[in-house]
């Protein structure tokens, strides 16, 4: 809070610094021209107005030249220019009238002073906006909402990175903030209208705005990435685009500048991914099936099925809906599996290692819709025919079959589990050739068949 106020006062420096310049010059002028002449205070005031007029006239003249060289936009200058001219006009009238010894009434005098101060404020403020950027005066004040593009991505959207598009959510908001004031349907400076995707691509008088695939031939990218003192640098006033905004723009054009390009494409580019993480709070890491799944919380009643001492189970999520279940006794029987079936929606990880599981038992496992990890290793009675039942498991990622008696024939059923990512077949009857041909058909599956 305090530092924000100090920042605000700091931003007033360029304004305040003008005061001593003028006052010192005026004081010296009074000292030089009016000393020893027994001048009345009225003459001092008249001379003050003359100096105001004279220096104001110079400022108007020079300002006019500055405004004409094309650095500034007509819309930004107009108010500053004409209020400046009006101000000098007022100075001139006051000075002439005083010079002619015209006597003002008190109230007229007051309103003339007020008019001069008002015009001075208007001229000064709009001049400041031109050199320091719009909103320069208030942006440092506490409680003033800062304009940062991070805000443009809502919390909800941020959690579903699949629905965020580079152009719509990251690039366009920047254009809107930095370029649209001058490049829109009504004002098309340089013939460029940035209000729609098509017109941005089309560009303006100087050429195409975007050359898909080549950022360095895209004028939109070139102009914002010029050195800031380059005459064609954009935006000509205000805060330039930040490093990350330019980097994302470049990456987007480089990758084809498609309107519907998803941000998840950044996964291929660690630098851009990291940048999006830092600047926009986007977590682009690939989500597993479980991270996107929502299930109802299990009640105590549901959990009665697992009350038996031989099950060890725990929730793996704070919502208490995903179960990790392990059977710990030496021999499993059908009623044990029927028990687990009672919570089949919720069982996500299941461990039936070394418990004399057989092919018949596996039939009871086919109806677990959310099972992602299944460990049935070291069960000597599990063979190829039992594995067939597992092909119904729609979301199985990881299947551990080491130490079972499956052979190459099992790969036919295993190939039907579309979600499979990892398969453990060490110490079974499968052959290296069998593994090889399975991997060729299913390159997305990592098969670990021993060392």
């Amino acid at each position: 809070m305090l530092s924000e106020i100090l920042d605000f006062l700091g931003s007033l420096h360029p304004l305040i610094v003008h005061l001593p310049i003028g006052i010192i010059l005026l004081t010296i002028a009074i000292d030089v021209f009016m000393r020893n002449k027994n001048n009345s205070i009225q003459r001092v005031i008249t001379m003050g107005w003359f100096f105001s007029f004279f220096s104001g006239l110079l400022a108007v003249l020079f300002g006019w030249f500055l405004g004409d060289n094309g650095y500034y936009l007509e819309s930004q200058i107009t108010i500053h220019r004409w209020s400046g001219v009006a101000l000098v006009g007022v100075f001139f009238i006051i000075w002439i009238l005083r010079y002619l010894n015209f006597r003002f009434s008190r109230s007229t005098n007051r309103s003339i002073n007020m008019t001069a101060i008002f015009l001075l404020l208007v001229t000064g403020h709009y001049g400041g906006e031109m050199t320091h950027g719009q909103n320069y005066l208030f942006e440092n004040l506490p409680y003033v909402k800062k304009k940062i593009s991070v805000m443009s991505i809502s919390e909800v959207k941020r959690s579903e990175t699949d629905s965020i598009f580079v152009y719509e959510d990251l690039v366009y908001p920047v254009f809107e903030e930095k370029c649209m004031a001058c490049h829109n349907q009504n004002q098309t400076y340089g013939g460029l209208n940035m209000s729609s995707f098509e017109s941005i691509v089309k560009g303006g008088k100087s050429g195409a705005g975007i050359q898909k695939g080549s950022p360095f031939e895209s004028l939109v990218y070139k102009r914002v990435s010029f050195p800031q003192n380059h005459p064609k640098f954009m935006p000509p006033t205000g805060v330039p685009l930040s490093y990350d905004q330019i980097a994302i723009l470049e990456w987007w054009i480089d990758n084809g500048a498609e309107r519907q390009m998803p941000v998840t494409l950044a996964r291929k580019e660690p630098k851009i991914q990291r940048l999006m993480e830092l600047q926009y709070g986007l977590d682009l890491r690939e989500k597993s099936y479980l991270e996107t799944l929502k299930l109802r919380t299990l009640s105590q009643n549901d959990l009665k099925a697992l009350e038996d001492e031989r099950y060890i189970w725990r929730f793996i999520n704070p919502e208490e809906s995903f179960l990790d279940v392990k059977f710990t006794a030496k021999k499993i029987q059908t009623p044990d599996l029927l028990n687990i079936q009672k919570v089949k929606e919720n069982v996500t990880w299941l461990n039936l290692t070394d418990c004399m599981l057989n092919d018949d038992h596996l039939n009871y496992l086919s109806a677990f819709p959310n099972l992602t990890r299944l460990k049935i290793q070291r069960n000597q009675s599990v063979t190829d025919s039992g594995i067939e039942a597992l092909k119904e498991l729609k979301n199985l990622n990881e299947l551990n079959l080491y130490g079972t008696r499956i052979s190459d024939a099992a790969f036919i059923s295993l190939g039907k589990i579309k979600s499979l990512k990892k398969l453990f077949v060490w110490n079974t009857l499968v052959t290296p050739g069998g593994i090889q041909s399975f991997i060729e058909q299913h390159p997305e599956v990592e098969v670990i068949g021993g060392l």
């Binding site: 060890i312 189970w313 725990r314 704070p318 208490e320 670990i448 021993g450 060392l451």
Partner: protein, 488 residues
């Protein structure tokens, strides 16, 4: 059985002091809670959760790892001779370390008096290995073969400059003794997956000299004592005093424990000290361990090719290799935190000679453990960590000779590696300067490492707390930031 039950239960049983503090603070807080937000006063408001973090639902998110095997290399292995290749040091062998590199660094009393700090390039050959091109020296021929399964952090740093505080720091999150170790926090937070074995087991390589190990490194600190690590020794009695004395049968022992439990329950009903319950559960655990421990320690069933994989040493109980094999067996039994210690890396002098021995003792078994876990599918949910408490200097402690040097303690940078559940494979995170003295990229503090470890187990390190002496503590205390780059 619900695995988290026991520490919940324990909180339902208060000692007199507990009762007084809980009721006064608790009720007071409740009323504040209802003032702030009347709707939430009795619901699951965050406010109350903060007051009673034990009731927080764990895990905080879906875990990647279910257990950890921490191969702790005590004494601090030289990163410059094993992982962090600095050809500049060989180029400038014997020249003084530039002043600008050391800066205002505080050196240990062992080398701060030296007139000269000659740079000591490694005497060992480095090569890049695997698809990832991780650089490792010839000292680790086996581990370098599995480089593509590993995640190196070359930019670890710590606050402490000497062994005891540095080990205490990396194991408990504080340089001062008295905090619970990582394994105790996990055991307290996540509970057990195997009722017959402790959640936290410690294996120490026998017959090694060097910096002392203290049982407080696997101590429970201020957590209830059932969460402390249990050391399994090599040889006849894996756990001391576990076996029945001659003439006492298992049946007699069971009867005896039952009677004892009755008495203890009476005492607990009378004075309500939660430590009595801990005592009861310790007795019960010990009774179950009478059968489970000999079973898990028995390696006679292991086929020869497994012994070949871990190396000749693995048949000799108490060696690092044998402990690695045991670690795998304990992981198979779902022990949550398996802590190995291997001492002897503190090479202030004669480093080239001594580090060879150390590397030979650990290299093959480390690689074997990771491979063995992998083929069994255990690497999917087991996190393996290899590393010491700090690094070693780039200059020689004592006289630098063309074929001999020593290295002093160096907290500013060191290398560790991880493998397994939820960790990126074949990557190197962070970097040090050309002199191997300062970190130039992605510094990772001990607390960041601990936060990442907790994260992999499904715990938000900022949320697992325990109130002690008037304030809430956590493993990372008020520090620690997740190292995202590690996560797969």
């Amino acid at each position: 059985m619900h695995c988290n039950n026991h520490h919940h239960q324990e909180n339902k049983n208060y000692s007199r002091r507990d009762f007084l503090t809980k009721t006064s603070l608790g009720l007071g807080a409740l009323s504040i809670g209802s003032l702030i937000s009347p709707v939430n006063a009795y619901g699951k408001s965050e406010f109350l959760n903060l007051l009673d973090s034990e009731k927080m639902k764990l895990p905080h998110f879906i875990p990647k790892a279910k257990r950890v095997i921490y191969l702790f290399q005590s004494g601090a292995p030289s990163q410059l001779d094993l992982f962090d290749y600095k050809p500049k040091l060989n180029e400038m062998f014997g020249k003084e370390v530039p002043k600008s590199i050391i800066g205002e660094q505080r050196l240990t009393g062992m080398s701060s008096g030296q007139n000269s700090f000659p740079m000591a390039g490694t005497l060992f050959q480095f090569k890049q290995h695997g698809q990832s091109g991780a650089s490792m020296s010839e000292l680790m021929p086996y581990t370098s073969k599995i480089a593509d399964d590993l995640c190196f952090i070359k930019s670890m740093y710590t606050d402490a400059i000497n062994h005891d505080p540095a080990m205490t720091m990396i194991q408990t999150g504080s340089e001062l003794p008295g905090r619970p170790s990582i394994g105790s926090w996990l055991s307290y937070g996540l509970g057990t997956d195997n009722k017959n074995l402790p959640e936290f087991v410690v294996l120490v390589t026998k017959g090694k000299n060097g910096q002392p190990l203290y049982s407080r490194l696997w101590g429970n600190g201020f957590l209830p004592s059932q969460y402390q690590g249990v050391q399994f020794r090599s040889g006849k009695d894996a756990v001391l005093y576990l076996d029945n004395p001659p003439g006492v049968t298992s049946g007699i022992r069971e009867e005896q424990l039952k009677s004892l439990k009755k008495l203890q329950n009476i005492q607990h009903a009378d004075i309500g000290d939660p430590e009595i319950l801990t005592k009861i559960s310790n007795y019960e655990m010990a009774f179950r361990m009478q059968t489970s421990v000999p079973e898990v320690m028995d390696i006679s069933d292991e086929p020869d090719y497994i012994f070949d994989l871990y190396g000749e040493d693995s048949k000799n109980p108490g060696t690092f290799a044998a402990n690695c094999l045991l670690a795998r067996k304990l992981a198979e039994k779902d022990v949550k935190f398996i802590q190995l210690y291997h001492r002897g890396w503190d090479q202030h002098g004669n480093l080239p000679r001594d580090i060879k021995t150390q590397a030979k003792e650990t290299d093959q078994a480390t690689a074997a453990l990771i491979q063995d876990l992998k083929q069994r599918g255990l690497l999917e949910d087991t996190l393996v960590i290899w590393g010491g408490e700090f690094g070693r200097t780039n200059y020689s402690q004592g006289m630098l000779k063309p074929d001999n040097y020593g290295r002093d303690h160096h907290p500013r940078c060191f290398t560790i590696f991880m493998a397994g559940a939820g960790v990126k494979k074949g990557v190197t995170i962070g970097a040090t300067d050309d002199f191997g003295y300062n970190i130039t990229e992605r510094p990772v503090h001990i607390h960041d490492f601990q936060a990442t470890l907790m994260h992999l187990l499904g715990i938000d390190h900022e949320k697992l707390t325990f109130k002690f002496q008037g304030r809430r503590y956590r493993l990372t205390d008020v520090h620690g930031k997740l190292v995202n780059e590690v996560l797969a």
